[in-house]
């Protein structure tokens, strides 16, 4: 029993990272932009999140407050991710370059920047960049009071997570309401499904694509920061972060582009990724667990295309640029 509870808790920790990456990419893809730069964006979010928190603590010294450090880390990651996706949007939306190639270029660029910032800090600070234990605890502490966490079973499963998890859940719900219940959300979906029709209806395609991609990129970047600040223990760890962005892209498919599915989907993917550390199933080598998320995604992809049901498809214009004069 305790083992299952710790497994769930650990799955949520890693799942939170994925949830940000996925929610951001869902928003982006809803506009018809397939941004394959998530890997790079999350690297940048991780590096700049650490950068922001570290230099804040350096400036504030012992007076550094946990909540403020968290806000600074979130904002730095957000800005980094938004800047990166702005480049992507400009090149694909305004200049109409191929989305796949631009996304991959952003992945190369972003992982480079992330690594560079991580290394740069290490060299500048003479070896080791880490937050004080005080702030580290602030990043990994839960927001619920102690007695709630201590409720048997339920406390561990529901109330023991970091603030980032609860924020992500709220974000998923907001995104769901935005996409399903608001006019602008409907417009965004329409842009992703058929830019030509939306354009004829008077929707500003360029604006929607830019906003969705830039905000989406910012959200994805927060995921990178959450990884560095929680799982990696507030030190730059590029090996751990590598592949997380691609997993988030997979998760978008698994969730069939629905934000609410991202909540349980990310925890499930998180569980699959960390299971090898905790559970051993006879005859199945642990390394194989790690490819489960990808296999599951492939199966989802195949089934949705075979059934061809209209509400379970990628946005129809995904990956294609829109050029009005070319209609």
């Amino acid at each position: 029993m305790t083992m299952i509870i710790t497994l769930i808790a650990a799955a949520v920790t890693f799942g939170t990272v994925l949830m940000y990456g996925t929610l951001g990419e869902i928003l982006t893809e809803k506009s018809g932009n397939l941004n394959l730069g998530v890997e790079g964006i999350m690297y940048m979010g991780g590096a700049f999140g650490l950068f922001g928190a570290f230099y804040y603590e350096k400036a504030a010294g012992a007076a550094a407050s946990g909540p403020l450090a968290i806000i600074i880390a979130i904002l730095s990651a957000l800005m980094a991710g938004m800047a990166a996706s702005l480049i992507y949007s400009f090149i694909t939306v305004t200049l109409r370059a191929n989305q796949n190639v631009t996304g991959l270029a952003l992945s190369i660029f972003g992982t480079g920047i992330g690594q560079f910032v991580g290394e740069y800090m290490r060299v500048r600070e003479g070896g080791y960049v880490a937050l004080s234990n005080n702030l580290k605890n602030a990043f990994s502490a839960t927001i619920f009071p102690d007695f709630m966490v201590k409720i048997p079973v339920v406390g561990q499963i529901l109330f023991s997570h970091t603030v980032f998890f609860y924020l992500a859940v709220v974000l998923a719900i907001i995104m769901f309401l935005f996409l399903k219940k608001t006019k602008y959300g409907m417009y965004l979906t329409a842009v992703g499904e058929s830019p030509a029709v939306s354009d004829a209806a008077g929707i500003n395609i360029t604006l929607y694509k830019y906003l969705a991609t830039v905000i989406g990129g910012g959200i994805s970047a927060i995921g990178g920061m959450v990884y560095i600040m929680t799982t990696a223990g507030c030190v730059w760890n590029h090996e751990g972060l590598s592949g997380v962005g691609w997993l988030a892209v997979a998760l978008v498919i698994f969730c069939i582009w629905r934000p609410l599915n991202a909540i349980w989907g990310s925890v499930l993917f998180g569980a699959m990724m960390i299971m090898y550390l905790r559970v051993t199933i006879p005859f199945i080598p642990t390394e194989i667990y790690k490819i489960l998320p990808y296999i599951v995604t492939v199966i989802v992809l195949i089934f949705t295309s075979m059934k061809n049901s209209r509400d379970k498809q990628p946005p129809a214009s995904l990956g294609l640029n829109y050029f009005r004069e070319e209609r």
Partner: protein, 362 residues
């Protein structure tokens, strides 16, 4: 309002541009990228000009450096050639990373088990063929589903990469592990290593042959023509009686096979062993190489050489000036952005309000 306002400027597709002008724009974009690349170099407190000098020196100034640079360029070029026919067909194969890996797995299987029993030339031939087959079959899986149910190939091929890498991770720590607990696959015997020509493994000859073959295939054969037609319009291809599904699968097999061969060259010519990072991002970088070369085989030589120089040179930069080697990725990224953006000015023109009256009215 009776009079409709013309926007300040609008876009139009450009008719053919002169060759010189196109190349001037491309070279200009590279220069702009190199200027932008000065920013991160200056952030490290170094002089950008001397840093670029170190990059060039560190990659081409001595024969040994050139050999290492060529070694980096071989897989990039080979894999870009693999991707070209898919992209021509507008089949977005971003699974080269996995196809390289599976090719490497097949080659490694024979290298580990038959190095003592099969004579070297025959063994290498078997490794070559099985690597090509494995890469091709791996690529065939998403192609089959694309042909049959129109499954999104971008996402499918992407997932296949990580499945392939996961398989190697398992082999590395499991059945093929050398010394217990080392998590490493043993080094290949000499018999399973590619011979060297001019002291670089003979992979460079294979890729250069592939350049010519691919150029010929894409431009002079019926199959190349079919690929081009599908790329322009799937419907046209159908009306013309082409079996689109079959062509997609055939093209993907060829593409995967070439990537598989690249995988064979990496394990047998450069690393002499297999580990999960065997493809090391080549499958992704080579996509940008192929695209920026306009899928032209010969242009790919130049672009892959350029990226290889950057990568090799940046390693020297790190040892000499303590600039993080990740600067190579940053400059590569800027270079790609800049070249992607420059295509816009080749393909489109801006028409400003008031000017070109005749065309506005037309």
């Amino acid at each position: 309002m009776s009079e409709v306002r013309t926007p300040l400027f609008r876009l139009a597709k450009r008719e053919a541009m002169s060759r010189e002008k196109i190349w001037a724009i491309r070279v200009g974009s590279i220069i702009i990228a190199l200027i932008l690349g000065c920013i991160p170099i200056m952030l490290t407190g170094n002089n950008p000009i001397s840093a670029y000098a170190v990059i060039v020196q560190g990659s081409v100034s001595r024969p040994i450096y050139i050999r290492q640079t060529v070694k980096i360029a071989i897989p990039l070029l080979g894999c870009a050639l693999a991707i070209a026919p898919c992209f021509k067909m507008r089949f977005w194969n971003i699974g080269a990373e996995g196809q390289i890996t599976m090719g490497a797995v097949a080659a490694t299987f024979f290298a580990l088990n038959f190095a003592k029993t099969i004579p070297s030339p025959l063994l290498l031939a078997i490794m070559f063929i099985t690597a090509a087959t494995a890469g091709g079959l791996w690529a065939l899986i998403p192609a089959f589903f694309k042909a049959k149910w129109n499954t999104n190939e971008t996402l499918f091929t992407l997932m296949m990469n990580y499945i392939a890498i996961g398989i190697v991770a398992w082999l590395q720590g499991g059945p093929w592990e050398g010394r217990k607990g080392s998590q490493l696959i043993p080094m290949f015997d000499d018999a399973a290593r590619l011979p060297e020509v001019f002291r670089v493994h003979c992979g460079w000859i294979i890729v250069l042959l592939l350049v010519v073959l691919m150029y010929f295939y894409m431009n002079k054969t019926k199959q190349g023509f079919e690929i081009a037609v599908i790329g322009d319009s799937v419907n046209t291809a159908r009306y013309a009686g082409m079996n689109v599904g079959w062509i997609i699968m055939r093209t993907m097999f060829i593409s995967g096979a070439i990537s598989g061969i690249v995988g064979f060259m990496i394990v047998s010519g450069a690393n002499y062993t297999l580990y999960k990072g065997v493809a090391n991002g080549v499958g992704f970088t080579s996509i940008t190489v192929a695209w920026l070369s306009q899928l032209n085989s010969f242009a790919m030589i130049a672009i892959s050489a350029m990226l290889a120089i950057l990568e090799k040179g940046s390693n020297t930069l790190q040892t000499r000036l303590q600039v993080p080697a990740s600067i190579a990725d940053i400059i590569t990224g800027i270079l790609l952005f800049s070249m992607l953006a420059s295509e816009f000015f080749i393909n489109y023109k801006l028409i400003f309000r008031g000017r070109d009256k005749k065309e506005v009215n037309a």
